[in-house]
Symmetry: C2
Subunit: 133 residues, 2 copies
């Protein structure tokens, strides 16, 4: 069980955009170079973030990607869910009447993890670590 590389790319791109936070959008070309990934592939990933409403894209010359107004509230969990989906990481496929006790345990553990990821905003991370681009 692992998070996908796409999630890795998404988190790092958001870190970069948050640390840069320019009015001027940043092209996928530039974003892709920093992570040694192909621009076409990265653009597919970023399109998911656009659809999730975290960033916006500007087509045409001098276009690219840029954070939206609510960017200070974006959490790690937001980004991860946008890429990985929001399905829970365990499904009991067995049949023991009402509610599997195993499922309950694993889901409460998952909830602990998500709680931390929900409370960790990307903007706070940038501020705390004094990350500058």
């Amino acid at each position: 069980m692992k998070y996908s590389k796409a999630t890795d790319y998404a988190l790092h791109t958001m870190l970069f955009l948050t640390a840069a936070t320019p009015q001027k959008p940043i092209g996928v070309q530039q974003l892709a170079e920093r992570q040694s990934v192909s621009p076409t592939y990265l653009s597919k990933i970023l399109t998911k973030l656009v659809k999730a409403g975290m960033i916006e894209s500007i087509t045409g010359v001098n276009g690219g990607y840029r954070l939206k107004r609510n960017w200070e509230d974006i959490s790690f969990l937001d980004i991860i869910h946008a890429i990985e989906g929001s399905a829970s990481l365990f499904d009991c496929s067995f049949d023991h009447g009402p509610g599997c006790p195993i499922q309950k345990v694993v889901l409460s553990a998952e909830e602990k993890m998500e709680e931390l990821l929900r409370n960790q905003k990307m903007s706070d991370l940038v501020r705390e670590h004094n990350i500058v681009i």
Copy 2:
């Protein structure tokens, strides 16, 4: 990102063995029937639990699988790690000097989840829920 079905089978088998806790070993045939999975496949999974030292197998007539002496201390995390491996669920593949801040966040979240899974013993679950086979 999901836990494998193998983990599902392993957890349920351990729940069953813990609730039954007989001196007499239980055959994979019987264990497999309850979960509607093939005996050969389940035996592959249980072999991992044997190698991890959680259960022991007895070959031959009236053989099967049985918990080992330390069975009361076996946690969810023990079982999950035996099946899924112990690798962390996120690897930063980017290069930002010493220590990726994103990696730190995700790993601390994972640690929260594992903490709960480590503290939840299968034997406690059986006792609390009064599970009887």
